[in-house]
Assembly symmetry: C2
Homo-oligomer: 333 residues x 2
DNA sequence: GCCTGCCTTGCATTCGAATGCAACAAGGAA
DNA sequence: TTCCTTGTTGCATTCGAATGCAAGGCAGGC
């Protein structure tokens, strides 16, 4: 590999008959007379010169890469999130350095690697952050934002959906429509999304005098939802309403109900999801669900993180974006 | 932002009472006596030192970042691809610098930006590369791989599905099963996936004496497929078999057929897709389709690119991975 | 005891761009 | 004319780690 040497600022400097410093200033917004600027741009164009971002980041001690750490990739909600983040960050001139958390590992393993790249900030989606890592990030001074997980301690910003009012509303509407036996298909038990949605749902039922409901884990995957659906709806006294912590699990439940158990949805059982992934709106499902406004959440996340990078925003902020109940036909509501 | 200074190799050197060079060697596999190595590792642990990847890449003139350029993100096939690439590259110790091609723009706009980061290689997925860019990449000496698009000229490697035999097989099976009026729901007309699949399909029909078939663009999106389905199946003399260039469009066609036009699938019309996205296997769809073996394609892509980076592989290679016809119930076949 | 050779370590330089400071030119005020 | 101001430009240094080369230590062979 005799990799051809790329043109550097020195090459351009020589060609334009100026010093390297001037070339640098020409490309980073410094003061340069218009006549010289033109000469430099001409030379740069001829040589195919573009500043080396690595050198730039090294000397200026600030990179414009953002580390994006993604956990679970089974759930089609997250590809959407990832793609929104990439586009939004790109729009504001930032680059995305992508990390995925390998199945079975946790974020702690990859975060140090992210930091080796001296990213300007870190976004953690679909995963929580241990207090050990929170401390690490703080001591390194790397602004961090956790997406779609609430952080109850530490100094990390977070943006997530207002889970509790949304879950409460779902329970209220189901109750009001006359449902009496409930089921819940959860996600990972230790995530804030699961905990908060479950808690608000359970409390609302309890307030109406319903102390118990069936519960299964849907693992935030289609297959998990399918299995949970079979189990929860296969019983003699099956629920007449099932609330699912994620749409992808809800679709699994729906398929199991219709195609495996021969149930009518919503005739025999109402099914409600959470997320509003694209599939939820397809006619075969027409899933009633809580929409997480991804675009808004992502935009808010990015602006919060950028503010923190620029040192303007307060250190600790937990933003909650309200969800929206989308009524379709999978529930009598 | 008084960003706390991070520990450098000099700090570690001082703490371990060795020179900076020795610290560097300790972290990059050079020769260091075991006694000294231990001292260095102790000091590094205490200081929380990790080598700065940017400085490393700058001096050694090789980064371990791979630029991943993604086009179309509507099609759920690509999130899968992206996630597989991320995991596979991470597995071999590479990082992914992610770029998305903004809607309406082409790859030419983002490639120069990718190169500013002096990535070790570039993977372009879901988009083609102009010959101008191919020249640029060659002159910069950046190994490049195009995924899921055939490249007919230039010196760029590519990995894609063997589209023609697969499409031919679909046509043959549909013919054999007695279908006589055909429809095709295509993707973007200028992509090799569209062109190759369409061509093989058309040729096979022609060989059987069927010169004409209805054609619509499904835009490789659910909505596009839905609209195409309405148009193509809403006619008086509608096709009894529709082949779709992508699963996501096929699902749109299927929904339109069933829920808008009241057709029975496969009773009234057979529908066949291409990709085998997860949704295709869900009972509501049970889509007969051609599976693109994503894992194999990705693994092959990565190994090809790495080979090129290490200077071992030949410069030009077009790998074709055979697809597999997955028979489900959306087609009488 | 001395020389040879290997192994480990340190010194000095390098990658490519940013930036504080000094030098300089041009223009205006006194 | 002289002095001062303002605006450009260049010089020298810096970021943090890798690496060629030379120096030093130590063992083995003679």
């Amino acid at each position: 590999m005799n990799r051809p040497k790329r043109a550097t600022s020195y090459d351009v400097a020589e060609a334009a008959d100026v010093s390297q410093s001037t070339v640098s200033r020409a490309f980073s917004g410094g003061k340069v007379s218009s006549e010289v600027l033109e000469r430099i741009q001409d030379a740069a164009r001829k040589l195919g010169y573009r500043p080396n971002e690595l050198a730039r980041s090294l000397i200026s001690r600030k990179s414009n890469m953002i580390g994006l750490v993604m956990g679970n990739t089974n759930n089609p909600f997250y590809p959407t999130v990832m793609s929104e983040f990439t586009q939004e960050l790109q729009r504001v001139g930032r680059r995305v350095l992508l990390f995925s958390v390998p199945a079975g590992q946790d974020v702690d393993a990859v975060l140090p690697e992210v930091l080796q790249y001296h990213v300007a900030g870190v976004i953690i989606a679909s995963a929580t952050i241990s207090s050990k890592m929170a401390r690490l990030l703080k001591s390194e001074g790397t602004p961090t934002l956790v997406f779609n997980r609430a952080i109850y301690e530490g100094s990390v910003n977070s943006v997530c959906c207002a889970n509790e009012p949304a879950a409460r509303l779902v329970a209220q509407r189901l109750l009001k429509a006359g449902h009496r036996r409930f089921g819940l298909v959860g996600g990972q038990a230790d995530t804030s999304t699961h905990i908060e949605r479950r808690k608000a749902f359970a409390e609302t039922l309890a307030e109406a005098g319903i102390a118990k409901f069936d519960e299964e884990s849907g693992l935030n995957s289609y297959e998990g939802g399918f299995a949970a659906g079979l189990s929860i709806l296969g019983k003699k006294r099956r629920p007449d309403a099932v609330f699912c912590i994620s749409d992808i699990a809800a679709l699994g439940v729906l398929e199991a109900a219709r195609h495996k158990l021969g149930l009518n949805v919503p005739g025999d059982v109402s099914i409600v999801g959470f997320d509003d992934i694209p599939e939820a709106s397809w006619p075969s499902y027409s899933l009633t669900t809580v929409r997480q406004p991804v675009k808004r959440m992502v935009a808010e996340s990015v602006s919060l993180l950028l503010g923190q990078i620029d040192g303007k925003e307060p250190v600790r902020k937990a933003v909650r974006i309200p969800g929206e109940l989308i009524i379709r036909t999978s529930a009598r509501i």
